[in-house]
């Protein structure tokens, strides 16, 4: 019995190490390229590219971190992501609450409508959405707001979906007691339900944040045509990679710099992401 258990444990340990390796490997490759010196990628075909740089160097980091455009673009991405989170939460959470609490006939249709916008392929829906923002009266909005509004279209269904699940896990008793004691629905929602639901909602917020920070298609179509000098990071990356195919060290360094904040962010918030999945996704 004991021996068998140990064997299982060993298999588990091996598997977990293998899986971690699979996850980390591409990130390692990115890191390796980013600290490569000349001889580690200009091989002239004489030897294969080494798995660890011959002489690791952080030169490229120095270069990009001193670049004001990088910071400007990063700040714009951050603004967009936070604004998207704000819009999605302010609009989405109350709707999710109502959808989870009230039994009314049109509920199914409403949920379907909210979720069905995710059926459109991004690349199809981006055209009308970008057109709306770039041609209608919305044209004069600052780019940050435009992109955030577009990202909200993508993020809102997720928030409603996750938040609805979160609210459903909260017992109705509390609110009922409050209403019986004369509190309004609004009061019950803001003072009683919301505080309990916050960790679950945080998960929704985190998803939307990641979605917005990583989103490329909508950001690209909205900002690329309006000729602004500051653009969201993914668009900046694409413009660098696409137009002039820079050397691998620049590609890897920029990639890592863009990913790093989000990687750290995920490390801190992973607990909430799991609570959100527990509440929202399985029903």
């Amino acid at each position: 019995m004991k021996k068998k258990l140990n064997k299982e444990k060993v298999i588990w340990l091996i598997m977990i190490i293998l899986c971690m390796a699979a996850v980390i490997f591409p990130i390692y490759i990115m890191f390796k390229y980013s600290i490569s010196d000349r001889t580690s990628w200009i091989t002239g075909g004489k030897y294969p590219i080494p798995w660890w740089p011959n002489k690791p160097t952080f030169e490229m980091y120095k270069y990009y971190l001193a670049d004001t455009r990088f910071w400007g673009n990063a700040f714009m991405s951050l603004q967009i992501a936070l604004l998207t989170v704000a819009i999605c939460m302010v609009i989405g959470a109350p709707a999710a609450y109502s959808l989870s609490r009230f039994k009314f006939s049109a509920k199914g249709v409403l949920i379907f409508l909210i979720l069905s916008i995710r059926l459109f392929p991004d690349i199809s829906s981006v055209i009308p959405v970008a057109y709306t923002f770039n041609v209608s009266f919305l044209y004069n909005l600052p780019p940050v707001v435009k992109v955030a509004l577009a990202h909200s279209v993508l993020g809102l269904p997720y928030v409603v979906y996750i938040a609805q699940g979160v609210f459903e896990t909260i017992p109705v008793d509390l609110e009922e007691q409050a209403t019986i004691m004369g509190a309004s629905k609004l009061y019950a929602f803001t003072r009683i339900v919301l505080p309990v639901a916050l960790p679950g909602l945080a998960a929704g917020a985190i998803y939307v944040f990641l979605l917005s920070w990583n989103e490329f298609v909508f950001s690209y179509f909205i900002t690329a045509t309006s000729s602004v000098s500051i653009i969201p990071l993914p668009v900046y990356l694409k413009s660098l990679f696409g137009a002039f195919s820079p050397n691998p060290v620049s590609v890897a360094t920029l990639s890592l710099l863009v990913s790093l904040p989000v990687i750290l962010f995920t490390f801190f918030v992973q607990k909430y992401m799991i609570s959100g999945a527990t509440a929202g996704a399985v029903k």
Binding site: I49, S98, I114, I127
Partner: protein, 308 residues
């Protein structure tokens, strides 16, 4: 509830339900109208464009069904459809398997669980565009992958005699796109499945163990049936995303477009939004049909499991 109705008058009842609905109305309205407006703008645009014929970027004829007919008869479209189907059929189950593996590995109390969990979540934090860039570096000619297969590293045997181009070969190009997609999206499947696993009562395993059942049996007779809802979620959500996939094949398999990439090609490169819209509409139809079939299959599976 019954007491309430008896105690209060009819008028008060209506007033109450109105008040109740007013809150409902004000909370749901912003979300519904926001999504609704964009839903109709997108749908209107797509249908309108799909009925317009374009030539050299200029609309020349509307309304017409020419775009639909062209697409139905186009070999390019059929090829793209088959590729998309393969993409969906391979990447969705693969994401389920990797997600399940990851979820089961960390559904255990152990030291450093938080760190392992964070590491498993990492791919989600890497922007897609970065993932594609790294894969491209790794798999392009003269990169690690070809050097490895050519046996240039001493510790690895020579497998190829001539260097191949991964992105210019249908099999490998779609293959690395799927690889990228699965790598990137496994954490999402993992989270959903982990949630499912955590809701399974530990007592059931205890009971099974006292009856002498091994862990493999446990997995097939307890875990899997109880995970069906989570697995369904994963399959439905991930398959929809797979149908819609764009960025991985766009960068990694440019010569072998799937439907999402074909839309971009017609819209941006060939300046033909009409045909692009038609492909988009077909894609939505495929998604709906695909999800319906999947739901039916899952329903059958569920019934079968209940019987067992």
């Amino acid at each position: 509830m019954a007491d309430d109705i008896r105690n209060n008058g009819r008028f008060y009842n209506i007033y109450r339900s109105f008040k109740k609905n007013l809150f409902l109305f004000w909370t749901i309205l912003p979300a519904i109208s926001y999504i609704g407006i964009f839903f109709f703008i997108i749908a209107f645009f797509l249908i309108n464009l799909s009925l317009t014929q374009f030539s050299g970027g200029q609309a020349v004829l509307s309304p017409t069904l020419a775009n639909y007919l062209n697409i139905i008869n186009s070999q390019e479209f059929r090829d793209a459809f088959i590729r998309t189907l393969i993409f969906v059929l391979v990447s969705t189950p693969l994401q389920l398997i990797t997600g399940l593996l990851f979820a089961m590995l960390i559904n255990k109390e152990f030291k450093g669980r938080g760190i392992v969990r964070s590491i498993f979540l990492l791919p989600m934090a890497i922007p897609t565009i970065v993932t594609t860039a790294i894969l491209l570096l790794f798999f392009s000619k003269g990169g690690h992958a070809t050097s490895l297969l050519l046996g240039e590293y001493a510790w690895f045997p020579r497998i190829l005699s001539r260097e191949i181009s991964f992105i210019n070969n249908e099999f490998t190009a779609i293959g690395i796109s799927i690889l990228g997609k699965v790598w990137r999206d496994t954490p999402i499947s993992m989270l959903i499945l982990l949630a499912g696993l955590q809701s399974i009562n530990k007592d059931q395993y205890e009971a099974a163990r006292t009856m002498g059942s091994g862990s493999v049996k446990n997995f097939f007779y307890i875990t899997l049936p109880l995970l069906v809802p989570a697995i369904s979620s994963v399959l439905v959500l991930r398959s929809i995303e797979a149908w819609k996939e764009f960025i991985f094949p766009y960068i990694l398999a440019p010569s072998y477009p799937i439907l999402g990439v074909l839309i971009e090609r017609y819209y941006v490169q060939l300046l033909d939004p009409g045909t692009a819209a038609v492909i988009g509409i077909f894609l939505i139809i495929f998604i709906i049909i695909g999800s319906a079939i999947l739901n039916w299959l899952l329903e059958q599976a569920r019934r079968y499991l209940v019987k067992v």
